[in-house]
Symmetry: C2
Subunit: 156 residues, 2 copies
DNA sequence: TATTGTTATACTCTATAACTATA
DNA sequence: TATAGTTATAGAGTATAACAATA
């Protein structure tokens, strides 16, 4: 193969990495998210979870006692998507819907004991996947990235 | 309403922001990406584009002359998705498929004059949407965020 | 044999509207 | 009137397998 077809040091598969898109934060965000989502789903699959259901379970484990509405807002999901996520977790005995005493329209989603146990194991899998994903970053860089993303994800 | 139901200074809509998920880089990535995607699609809609088709157009405008295969890898799309994205842009006269002289299996995707003109206008809309999205970040922070995301998005 | 682009297909995700029971 | 949850449904996005042409 003639040298002219591979005139740079960049590998053939990465020819496009010199694109201006590489300076576009939204594009980088999309690509990084695609990689993180794939890695997360793969790591959680052995526990029967995905990134979505793991997030709901994680919030149900906490003291906050979130309503489905709050879950939808926080996770940027449609309320109807929360219904089916909670349906699934409830069918598997991992969370329960409890009535909110202060608002009889609302359900509070709380983890069962089995849900807490599964969450603990899943959390470790997710964290180890994240460590692999952040292999190119130092611990300080990972923390800094999280801080900057927080500004973007929670404005105001 | 009794004070005990709103015991913190956090607004009711943001009660969950104290969750440990808020320290999870992958969750923050997902939420930030959801916001950026929505803002991007909204900004590009007036030009008849979405984030996906804009990215393809942007790469077709450059000198790189990417093949559909390269577009798929770079944008982390399935090759079949690239087919329909290019189909659509081509139908609208914004890009053309040119045969790759060095590989008769491959199509090279290049922007037409109309495509270049539209890209220029769309780029401005996308950039101004991004400035709004990054309102909480300084210019230095935005640049830093992009650098860190690049490490995540393009490992190796 | 392996790869590029293509088609067809199924599956997941997302968004919308309409309904009920509450507020 | 407005909101929480639910249901149904349609649309967008994603993933898979199979095929023709070419390497």
């Amino acid at each position: 193969m003639p040298a002219s077809t591979k005139s740079t040091a960049v590998p053939a598969s990465g020819r496009l990495e010199q694109s201006v898109l590489t300076e576009d934060a939204s594009f980088l965000l999309a690509r990084a998210n695609a990689l993180a989502l794939a890695a997360g789903n793969e790591a959680l699959a052995e526990h029967g979870l995905k990134v979505r259901s793991y997030a709901v379970l994680a919030l149900a484990v906490e003291e906050t006692r979130p309503s489905q509405r709050e879950l939808a807002e926080f996770l940027r999901l449609d309320p109807s998507q929360v219904v089916s996520l909670v349906d699934d977790l409830q069918r598997r005995g991992l969370v329960a819907r409890e009535p909110d005493p202060t608002d009889r329209r609302a359900n509070v989603v709380v983890a069962t004991e089995a849900g807490r146990a599964l969450h603990e194991r899943a959390r470790e899998a997710a964290q180890s996947a994240q460590r692999r994903l952040h292999a190119a970053l130092s611990a300080a860089q990972s923390e800094q990235l999280a801080e900057l993303l927080r500004l973007l994800a929670f404005p105001g």
